[in-house]
Symmetry: C2
Subunit: 103 residues, 2 copies
């Protein structure tokens, strides 16, 4: 793994890392059903406004979502929907793990 490769894998890992949090993953999936404002997530997730905002900022910085301000509210939308194609595979990992992992 040379320096160039290292850079590439660091970038890829950043995208994965953005999704690798229960709340962020859940929010990303919600956005698949259409845009949502921050306040909607706050109610649904049950954490602080600032926490939701920071999570969304992580997703945005990773290039996964985009935000748009309309009036007082900020709406987030899924910029790259393919990120959710992965979920079937993830679920198969979880299933195979629980069936094969002996203890």
């Amino acid at each position: 793994m040379n320096a160039r490769e290292k850079k590439i894998y660091w970038a890829k890992a950043k995208v994965l890392k953005a999704l690798a949090h229960p709340t962020r993953l859940w929010m990303a999936e919600q956005l698949a059903g259409g845009e949502r404002c921050v306040c909607e997530f706050v109610d649904a997730v049950g954490v602080d406004f600032s926490t939701v905002s920071k999570h969304l900022a992580v997703l945005k910085k990773a290039g996964i979502v985009a935000d748009e301000k309309r009036g007082k509210k900020v709406f987030y939308r899924l910029k790259v929907p393919c990120v959710l194609n992965f979920m079937d595979c993830i679920e198969s990992v979880i299933r195979s793990e629980s069936s094969c992992e002996c203890r």
Copy 2:
């Protein structure tokens, strides 16, 4: 997001988190080309034996790879190859980010 859902998303995030590290992601991709022993990775990645071992343990615990001891060496193989299907999408995120993210 109720308690049940929270559990599910926590589990999904765990799998993603396992892949969300440059070294682990790189190793997972290497394993797509067939099994490798720990020592091969040590040479290629340039970190400590123990570090490689721990990274592989994370992937194993997540259910992504499996290990098998043969003689002195431990060989790791990709248990769920679909995890790499995601890479095209990740790359498109990176591309769209660099082209659209205005600064």
